[in-house]
Assembly symmetry: C2
Homo-oligomer: 279 residues x 2
């Protein structure tokens, strides 16, 4: 099988920074003091397991952290969580992605300017939950069914989850603008790295017989890559690792494309490509 | 033939004001001093002819006005035209629609705030030309083919020709937001009267066998009504008056809907409905 890997794929700078920060902290602590991650450090079970073995405990809430050191993952955290951690005297290591920090800051500014903030994204995604936590009264809009939540005649300050696609951003904004708004102030908070991965995946999937998207099944940006590729190539498969592959899907295909989400470690991509080329 | 007239149609308040202003000025002058209209007072040849008989001379440029009184029509005029008229010592009667004045003011404010102003509309429409005349460097975007005119990564201040439809406003805004912008500030400058006429026409055309849109063939808002209705009823006809009707199009139809653009006089609608009901 001929295999082509997308020009842009795998760890983004924000994820790379979170992982290397975790590794540095773990090395410094040397197992003396516990190190917690508030939520999985990235949406990739393999990487979470690898770091757990090195001593990074994933917890779901602040209540589960008695003392020690806590890592804020690249998706960020809400101010009330940070405050609770401060009050506990926990050492906080902030690995929030710079683009997520920018999104939080912009959303706060829009609220201060008097706009009703609208976040285009998934309400349960940790990035969106953390941004919402920075605001008094934000609306999260996922799809056109949510448009009725928007009060008519309003002044809306609109931002977007960093890993959404420009197509989805445009489609939702167009739908909002068809409604009875008075003013929209829209700041482009999309991650360029994420957009480049999407462009690169869409280009590649049209040149190959079968397309593989590697990454956590819960990873928003990986799922977005799979959704986009499926539009252009019906033979698109979203897998976490080589172990998830059903060999039957390879039958009759000569060339395969491979891309990976921003939270997929290099070794997952390398293992997959090596096995596919050998097959 | 059963005839239903759209709930909202015909002269909008802006047009009604321009016509009654013209009539008052003509009555006051009593033929002593010439009265000019800078461009046709409305996009309706019948009404223009009626007012011409009463002494309103339509001219295409300021150069054609030597002295006397000039009426600025509801679409407005550019500041350089107003200045030239002042310099000539001509008496200016301003009948610019209040919503067009608002659009001009908003566009200027956006430019002052440092935004690249984008006007969504028709570049040759007098309203758009007048708004553009208020700005240093505005772009006019009509359809998706024009999107390449927008510089990437910009801060765009977006307004819309008052008579466009919310659907078109949304579609163009969505297309802009898919591109590489940094910030959009969008002010809703659509005319609510125009939107209500569109909603009313779209509702009606779906309840009748054949739909007639009355109004000047060069009237942007009338053409927009015809475009919208054609999507829902293929038996849609845009006519200036009853004289334009080909009786063959009535064959086999039991009910007819009638609407009219914002520049269509009541007598055109009344004459059409009377003749259609009698037929």
């Amino acid at each position: 099988m001929k295999v082509i890997v997308a020009e842009k794929c795998g760890f983004c700078p924000g994820v790379r920074n979170a992982i290397s920060t975790a590794e540095k902290v773990l090395a410094r602590q040397g197992g003396r003091d516990p190190v917690y991650s508030l939520g999985p450090i990235i949406h990739n079970p393999n990487e979470v397991d690898r770091l757990a073995e090195a001593g990074l405990y994933t917890v779901e809430s602040v209540d589960q952290i008695p003392s020690g050191t806590v890592l804020i993952r690249s998706h960020g955290a809400a101010p009330d969580q940070i405050e609770q951690l401060h009050n506990k005297g926990v050492t906080i290591i902030d690995a929030t992605c710079v683009l997520v920090k920018r999104l939080q800051k912009i959303a706060r500014q829009l609220e201060e300017e008097g706009y009703q903030v609208v976040i285009l994204g998934e309400p349960n995604h940790p990035e969106v939950r953390a941004v919402k936590g920075h605001l008094k009264n934000a609306l999260v809009i996922t799809d056109k069914d949510d448009l009725s939540k928007i009060p008519p005649g309003g002044r809306l300050g609109i931002v977007c989850q960093t890993t959404q696609s420009p197509e989805q951003f445009g489609a939702m904004l167009g739908a909002i603008a068809e409604g009875p708004f008075m003013e929209l102030k829209v700041i482009n908070t999309l991650c360029r790295e994420s957009c480049k991965r999407q462009e690169s995946a869409v280009q590649l999937c049209q040149q190959v017989d079968v397309m593989f998207i590697l990454g956590g099944l819960h990873s928003a940006n990986t799922r977005r890559l799979a959704e986009l590729c499926r539009k252009f190539n019906p033979h698109t498969y979203h897998l976490e690792t080589w172990q998830g592959l059903d060999p039957a899907v390879l039958t009759g295909h000569q060339t395969a494309g491979v891309t990976a989400g921003a939270s997929t470690p290099d070794w997952v991509i390398e293992e997959f490509v090596k096995n596919l080329e050998a097959g």
